[in-house]
């Protein structure tokens, strides 16, 4: 690859580390619909990679393949150089891949800390007599949010009382906290106002600074230019192009998405 990521040395630093995720020739069909027809994509460790494409280009299907919701028909996903097979969301979760869906996946009537620890509750006691360790979870939740500078006044308030930006931030913080390797975000700012969008983008920057790899699906070119390092464009289920953000423009990306500019990365 032309691009070498100037990452700080990880534990096994022989020559070059393999990229975090390397997808080659991925295909997935639903009956007559060929959603993915040979997608190639590489996620470099610690970078923000944007995934672009018009509606129906295959972005969501690709994400679902990567999160174990839909096992791909053909092709290979390598994780840190090892080929992996993701058969369920649990498989992905075990590898430290977390996803923030547009629906956010928060339980409105539960408190912030309960949402941060959903299905990962800390308990005390043993065997069948396990009791929730509320104190520890509340304390850690405050730390989790503080570390990412997420502005939530009280982790004991219910999510119902949070603004859209706060909810998004909580969902991202949760994913980032458990997603030790990769955090996938599906249009994280689609429903947000200007100020809240800025806060979420700042949060993505902080994730990147703490060496979390991010795959960002977005329709907002300005946002992609602001937060991403690399962009992949999907068109009709194929990888149309890969661009480094530093060397591209919003117009070029839009052209690649619509097909006005012919892609150069056909599989």
């Amino acid at each position: 690859m032309a691009e070498t990521t100037g990452q700080p040395e990880r534990e096994s630093s022989v020559a070059t580390d393999p990229p975090l995720v390397e997808i080659t020739g991925l295909r997935k069909s639903f009956d007559a619909v060929h959603a993915l027809q040979g997608v190639n994509l590489t996620l470099a460790q610690g970078e923000v990679t944007a995934l672009l494409g018009d509606n129906g280009a295959g972005k969501s299907t690709l994400v679902r393949c990567l999160t174990g919701v839909h096992p791909p028909d053909e092709g290979e996903i390598r994780f840190r150089g090892e080929p992996i097979r993701l058969n369920s969301p649990d498989d992905a979760r075990r590898l430290g891949i977390e996803t923030v869906y547009q629906t956010l996946g928060l339980i409105e009537d539960l408190q912030v800390w309960q949402n941060l620890y959903l299905n990962r509750e800390l308990t005390t006691g043993f065997g069948p007599f396990q009791v929730l360790d509320k104190k520890a979870m509340i304390a850690h939740s405050t730390e989790i949010l503080a570390k990412l500078d997420v502005n939530v006044p009280n982790v004991r308030a219910t999510v119902r009382r949070m603004s859209g930006g706060q909810r998004q931030s909580i969902a991202i913080a949760r994913a980032a906290n458990w997603g030790k390797t990769l955090v996938i975000m599906d249009e994280p700012t689609a429903a947000l106002g200007v100020r809240e969008t800025a806060a979420v983008e700042a949060l993505i920057h902080r994730l990147r600074d703490s060496d979390v790899t991010v795959l960002l699906i977005s329709h907002d070119m300005g946002q992609v230019l602001r937060v991403a390092d690399t962009a992949y464009v999907l068109r009709r289920g194929q990888t149309a192009a890969r661009r480094e953000i530093a060397k591209t423009t919003g117009d070029e990306l839009v052209g690649l998405i619509t097909g006005a500019i012919e892609g150069d990365a056909h599989a």
Binding site: G105, L106, I107, E108, L110, Q114, L118, P153, N154, Q166
Partner: protein, 320 residues
């Protein structure tokens, strides 16, 4: 109350209504107690309150099971026939001479069985809760009639009589049973992982599933618990009436749902209040008790109970 939340919600007027909705049952309970206290000197006496709480115990246990089902956004209509069914099994086993311990155990299992079947149909086969439990309400009622030939089975047990009449000093055994059941449900809901999953499954089933929670197992647990609660309540019912009456208990079914709604739990799931449901159950029983004391015709009781429930539903519209 902690109030440092998102801006743009400062609806002062609404907050008090919302608070009233959340505490509808306790507030209503106080109002009803005051009203009956003023109306008759016989209401607020130790003896009457003691009996009131004893008769509330059966409803309370049923309401605790209903609470768990409502928490996962479901409803259990089979309570109306599961209760007499479990009681009939107790009566049947007892008259067969299998001993009280075995009979009680079988009654609990009989209730649990109905709950498990409901749960499997709702959670595993994704059938509509309302229809499933309406169906089992009817089926179980028929099986009960077949088992008993429609006759009330007398259960003449000194132990059960003692359970209904005695206690530790002034504390009656029925209260103890009801308290333990309520405490267990409260513990389950708010102190264990399973409780968080129950609330999550009811609050947002898609999000719960995405988080990796086995939502169908959680829904099964809720219905099975409600069935088990019917089993426990059936033992109390047999102890109180001295026999197993196979007829449908529609009043208790409706009251069990009403108690939960009065208590501030949302029928859309995700919100539970054990304290509220307990207060709701006692409130409904107080209405009946007070009306009887005042000599008001029995026919007014369902009207009063229904009016209270409608009032609670009306107030809960303001709860957000």
């Amino acid at each position: 109350m902690v109030d440092v939340q998102a801006p743009g919600r400062g609806l002062g007027g609404r907050l008090s209504v919302a608070a009233a909705a959340r505490y509808a049952a306790p507030i209503g309970l106080v109002v009803v107690f005051l009203a009956f206290f003023i109306a008759t000197p016989n209401f607020l006496t130790l003896g009457n309150i003691s009996d009131l709480l004893v008769s509330a115990a059966i409803l309370l246990v049923l309401a605790m099971g209903q609470q768990l089902v409502v928490t996962v956004a479901g409803i259990d209509l089979s309570v109306g026939s599961n209760l007499p069914w479990s009681a009939a099994v107790l009566g049947f086993a007892y008259t067969q001479g299998w001993g009280l311990a075995v009979s009680v155990l079988l009654a609990l299992l009989a209730g649990l069985l109905v709950g498990v079947v409901n749960g499997l149909l709702v959670a595993r086969l994704n059938m509509t809760d309302f229809i499933v439990t309406l169906g089992s309400l009817s089926v179980v009622s028929g099986i009960t009639l077949l088992l008993t030939q429609g006759n009330t089975v007398a259960v003449n047990s000194a132990f059960l009589r003692g359970l209904a009449l005695n206690g530790i000093g002034p504390v009656r055994w029925f209260w103890v049973v009801a308290f333990v059941v309520a405490a267990l449900v409260g513990f389950l809901l708010f102190r264990t992982r399973t409780g968080t999953y129950l609330l999550s499954t009811g609050g947002n089933i898609d999000a719960a599933r995405e988080a990796g929670i086995n939502v169908s197992r959680i829904r099964l647990i809720a219905y099975a618990s409600s069935g088990l609660a019917c089993g426990v309540a059936s033992v109390l019912l047999v102890a109180r009436t001295g026999g197993a009456d196979p007829s449908l208990q529609t009043d208790l079914l409706l009251s069990s749902i009403a108690a939960v709604v009065l208590g501030g739990s949302s029928l859309f799931g995700g919100k539970a209040s054990v304290f509220g449901s307990v207060a709701g159950a006692v409130l409904l029983q107080s209405l009946i008790n007070g009306f009887t004391l005042l000599g008001i015709s029995q026919y007014y009781q369902p009207i009063a109970v229904g009016a209270v429930v409608l009032g609670a539903a009306f107030i809960s519209r303001f709860q957000k």
